[in-house]
């Protein structure tokens, strides 16, 4: 049997297996689609909006009311509670009803008129840094805006013209330009990585299952026979359906991101697609190595699953790799997701020239020699019955 025929017959056998085995069908098709849709709904809004805060206004003045209204009008914060004492506000925070407390002291407005800097105190819980960051940003900016308005009035009352007064208040102006994700959408930042994470986990699970199943249920001989006893053909034919379906899954993800979530592809879609395929193959190579070494479906699933889930942390999307301990930083290089997430951000969000991403694509290819390294072990375990039926 030629290699092509060998691949084809192993491919056919695997497709029939997927159709027959509901568990296989679930992890190959149903769960990945469901996960992608779940994350699309989860991150569709993409904005952290109207976080509830409590106000303790002891000033009860025009200026304090104005400040409260301005804060309530910001996108991130909603003034949900207006209470009498800081103790009441703290209770609301501990109960999880309010996420922060704003305290306006009774001498607030009086100090402004007297020419003494007036204080506004904001207490954040600190247990939820993403929410706290949004509250701090909106409250601080509002206080600064109100403060600048008052400065402007004071300067104008001293007879300084509006435009001169404006220069007085902000002698240096910052022009900021945000590359990639200009609206700072949390959905654009998080949804893609979570969706590709689903592909990572299920590619590893499916690849491990495809091979491990033949050992576990002692069908390895039938598998090899169906492919004319060529392990290369048998393996390629078996794993190709997973490569194809998971590659289609990445196209489905890109479709959802672009059409449903409104992202734009700033760079090369073609290169991104190539990156997706390399990334899936890299994970398949790792799974082949794990299942060959352990020769145990269940253990390979535990280890491979753990490895797949870890990638999320070590790709640095949620917490940057550069901020980790120095000794943990190199670990990020062990996960294909780390290279792929760079390629994704570059090509989808930034529009980085391709020359910067070719080394990353090559890094993904460097996972392939794992197959060669585990080849001898694999060819032994698929032929030696003592490695079978382990659970």
């Amino acid at each position: 049997m030629s290699l092509v025929n060998s691949i084809l017959s192993s491919f056919k056998r695997e497709i029939l297996e997927v159709a027959r085995d509901r568990l296989y069908m679930a992890v190959l098709i149903v769960i990945p689609v469901a996960m992608v849709l779940f994350f699309a709904v989860m991150f569709y809004r993409g904005e952290i909006e109207d976080l509830p805060i409590a106000i303790v206004d002891h000033s009860h003045t025009q200026t304090s009311y104005k400040l409260v209204n301005m804060i309530d009008a910001t996108p991130g914060v909603a003034v949900t509670y207006n209470v009498q004492s800081t103790a009441d506000a703290y209770r609301l925070i501990l109960q999880g009803d309010a996420l922060a407390m704003l305290y306006i002291p009774d001498d607030f407005e009086a100090n402004i008129y007297r020419g003494i800097p007036a204080k506004v105190e904001c207490y954040l819980l600190g247990t939820n840094i993403s929410a706290d960051g949004v509250i701090e940003r909106d409250v601080q900016q509002t206080v600064m805006t109100l403060s600048a308005g008052i400065s402007l009035n004071k300067l104008q009352s001293e007879g300084i013209g509006y435009s001169e007064a404006l220069v007085e208040i902000t002698p240096i102006n910052i022009h900021s330009n945000i590359v990639a994700n200009p609206y700072l959408n949390y959905g654009y930042y998080l949804a893609p990585i979570f969706m590709f994470m689903a592909v990572v986990i299920l590619t590893v699970v499916c690849t491990t299952y495809a091979i491990g199943r033949e050992l576990r249920y002692a069908t390895a001989t039938k598998w090899l026979e169906a492919s004319g006893n060529s392990l290369a053909g048998a393996l390629m034919g078996k794993l190709l359906p997973i490569t194809i379906i998971m590659s289609l899954m990445t196209q489905f993800i890109l479709l959802i991101l672009i059409v449903f979530m409104g992202m734009n592809c700033a760079g090369s879609y073609l290169f991104l697609t190539v990156g997706c395929i390399l990334f899936i193959i890299a994970y398949q190579a790792v799974a082949i190595a794990i299942v060959s070494v352990t020769a145990n479906l269940r253990l390979a699933l535990s280890l491979g699953g753990g490895y797949a889930v870890m990638a999320f942390t070590f790709s640095g999307i949620t917490f940057p790799v550069s901020a980790m301990y120095e000794w943990t930083q190199p670990l990020s290089k062990l996960f294909p997701l780390s290279y792929f997430s760079d390629i994704f951000i570059d090509q989808m969000m930034i529009g980085t020239p391709l020359s910067y991403d070719i080394p990353k694509a090559i890094s993904l290819l460097l996972f392939l020699p794992l197959i060669a390294i585990s080849w001898r072990r694999l060819s032994r375990v698929v032929r030696d019955e003592t490695y079978w039926r382990r659970s």
Binding site: L23, M35, F38, M42, I48, E49, L51, P52, L67, I93, L94, Q95, G96, I112, G115, I116, P117, A118, K119, V120, C122, Y123, L124, L125, G126, N128, G133, V143, S147, I150, P171, I172, N173, I174, S176, I178, V179, N181, Y189, L190, M197, A198, L202, Y209, R216, T294, R298, L299, S302, F314, T318, F319, P320, S322, A323, Y325, I350, Y356, R390, S391
Partner: protein, 396 residues
Amino acid sequence: MKLIGEEVDMNNINIKQSDSFLNIIRNEFKLIFSDGGVLLILVFAMLIYTMIYSSAYGNEVVESVAIVVVDEDNSAESRSVINGLRAGQRTAVRYEVANMTEAKELFYTRGAHGIIFIPDGFERDVLAGNQANIGVILDGSHLLLYRQVLEQVTEDVLSLGASLEVMRLVANGADDLAAMDVVQPIIYDGHILHNPSMGYGSFVMPSIVVVIIQQTLLIGLGMLGVRRKGLQLTTLNPIKSIVAKLLTYIIIYGINLTVILAIIWPIFGFPYEGATIDVVIIFTLYIIAAASLGLTLSHLFKRREAPLMLLLWSSVPVLLLAGVSYPKEAFPEWLYLIGRVFPSSSAVNAYVNIGTAGASLIDVSEDLIVLIALTLVYLALAIVAEHKALHKSSME
């Protein structure tokens, strides 16, 4: 004890057939410890995952984010801006380059996460009393890095601007305090009540540990359930059987949690506040709820690999549904409500408030009530399922 990965003989285990409470517990321990696969998930996984995640997130604070400066002005004033940036904690001026092309190169290779551009004529504008300009290019693809760079630059430039303004006002005859008041009539004074460094590990680790408990129980008990089917374990009373099994898991997870909160937490400096008795009550209820759910679901699996394959992926969605690591205000409420069927959602919210912020059980009563309700429901389901299974095996 079998080594991890070693073949498990599904039916050959020395199980004493006795209906005593202690014997059921003893048998449960024997089942776990004679099975490398289950042992790895129910006993060791929690410690292993906690240590790996703590090592990744333990450093807590994103500091010294690399930025690059392009200084076209090359003046005393532009130097003072750069020196201000150098002094800040959040960023580190890693590079100073001659032009934007070189700066972009660094940006593309991730050598720098922000570009500060000081145009020609900056000092001239400052000295002439015109509005001077600074350009900042930020990377919005990583919001944590973005925030650090933006905050540092804004803070430095604002304070430089303020000092310039004070100097001008004082030069025009105002006294210092009056000048300060014109510059900044209202001062924002921010305080952080708990987790004062806003550490990432302190924020995310409590939720992760809570979710790991549930996920390992669901997967481990699922695997054990498949093995149980091969063994003829005769227990007449399903309530007794379930209570004894739950006690086994309270012991195992109790020990693991003690190790985590008493040893791993202090090593990485994660916060632990709140009364220990409150923490014990929350976790006991939670372990009962999650283990009961696990025991109930375990009857559905026919193959040993199925629980791993079907549940492994769910950890991340379950963590998100608790609404802490990604705030619940940011996703649809119906999704959050669906997520509440998992004991993890109430346990994460209750434990984060108690363990990190020092709240009491009364403060978290809403989550506590939901958790108690879930515990009762899943316990009842586990008993019913156990009753059916025992009935079926006695029929055979």
